[in-house]
């Protein structure tokens, strides 16, 4: 799927770039809210409409937990999110509902995404006719690269790569292709993977920084997800495992797969 993240904040001028318009987003929102998954979920529907409206109406929207509590959950002006986490609970449920909705109804023009940690939605343009099936989730994972001058650091990168491959491979919905299989693929003996996961690691003393890119090869190498992870090395194995788990969780989210649906064998 070729996508362009077109969050309301992304347009410097405050308008809507490319072919994505307010009308398209609203039409998609109406369609989603009329689906069986949302029809009986009145508050969650109001929540979604509220944050989408806020994002569409304001060039640089800020939606706070308090605003949603007042507007959607009928809380009073003395609402304290510390003692009533209703908005955080419902936001997590709404993300799960959206994931389920898009698994059942792949979007054809735009997808609404509410990234974890914020309430302002992103509108992601979807190229018509290219919405993927879950079976397309294949990822090539070459060895992560060390950018530090110490040649010994490559062994940390190799270990981290192994840990990430191991964790991703436990999810039956993903087809994980490690470096060792890349040559085999190059010989045309199997369908090439759709995604490429690349990472580089920098170290300064005990501090490390991992820069990760997930690119969609079938979309011309478009960046699908990118993030930077920080860690302090105390115990090498524990650090690798912790980083790998963070990366796995972020990739599952970036690929819009429900975490709950994976058959974990931890």
């Amino acid at each position: 799927m070729r996508t362009a993240r077109l969050g309301a904040k992304l347009s410097e001028s405050g308008g809507y770039p490319l072919s994505l318009s307010t009308a398209v987003v609203n039409q998609h929102l109406d369609q989603a809210l009329n689906s069986p998954l949302f029809r009986n979920a009145e508050r969650q529907s109001r929540f979604l409409r509220f944050v989408v409206d806020a994002a569409l109406q304001t060039p640089q929207p800020t939606v706070k937990e308090f605003d949603i509590a007042i507007a959607v959950y009928d809380r009073r002006a003395d609402y304290d999110p510390r003692t009533d986490p209703i908005v955080r609970v419902e936001a997590a449920r709404l993300r799960a509902r959206l994931r389920e909705y898009y698994e059942v109804t792949p979007p054809d023009r735009v997808r609404i995404d509410i990234p974890k940690g914020r309430y302002v939605p992103s509108f992601i343009q979807v190229e018509a006719g290219t919405a993927p099936g879950v079976s397309d989730l294949s990822i090539l994972v070459p060895s992560f690269r060390s950018l530090s001058p110490d040649p010994g650091d490559q062994s940390f990168c190799d270990g981290l790569t192994e840990e990430v491959v191991h964790k991703l491979a436990q999810d039956h919905r993903l087809r994980v292709v490690p470096q060792s299989a890349a040559t085999w693929l190059e010989q045309g003996k199997a369908t090439p993977p759709r995604y490429l996961l690349e990472a580089s690691v920098r170290r300064a003393g005990a501090e490390i920084r991992v820069t990760l890119h997930l690119m969609e090869l079938t979309g011309g190498g478009a960046m699908h997800f990118s993030n930077i992870y920080h860690a302090t090395i105390n115990d090498i194995f524990a650090t690798q495992e912790r980083l790998a788990e963070q990366i796995r969780g972020d990739l599952i989210e970036a690929l819009h797969i429900s975490n709950a649906g994976s058959e974990s064998i931890h």
Binding site: D84, P85, I86, V89
Partner: protein, 140 residues
């Protein structure tokens, strides 16, 4: 659920006072404050209800590495809640009361990471319960 989420869920439950149903009783008190309309759905004696909830919490914690069994149990629970008349919008207050119970009982020992873990788990569990409810009454 990843292993870190599972660890946070287990650690938070382990911090609850063993064998003490007071936190669960407080959970129900809070739920009825947030959603008084659900009070009539609870017809059994509240101490018994608290014990039942506590047993379910222990079962969940013991089965976190078994998503298939968890899904089945949550769907069955959702189907029973459908019989009680629970509506989709009432899952929100229930989740709020659950996290409030941990906050109130554990204070600062209930870390933001633990809260995130419970938010993730509850989104999963309540969604499976909804699914069970829909399957039990597809016309609703």
């Amino acid at each position: 659920m990843d292993s870190i989420t599972i660890r946070h869920l287990r650690e938070s439950v382990a911090l609850l006072p063993t064998g003490d149903l007071a936190p669960v009783s407080e959970f129900y008190r809070r739920l009825f404050e947030l959603a008084p309309e659900v009070r009539p759905m609870f017809t059994r004696e509240m101490d018994l209800q608290a014990k039942k909830f506590s047993d379910m919490l222990a079962w969940v914690i013991a089965h976190l590495e078994h998503p298939h069994e968890l899904c089945q149990e949550m769907r069955a629970l959702g189907a029973r809640h459908n019989d009680y008349g629970v509506k989709v919008d009432q899952y929100g207050p229930l989740g709020s009361a659950l996290i409030w119970m941990f906050q109130r009982t554990l204070g600062e020992r209930f870390t933001p990471e633990m809260e995130d873990a419970w938010l993730e788990f509850y989104a999963f569990a309540s969604f499976e319960m909804e699914r069970g409810s829909r399957e039990a009454a597809p016309s609703r």
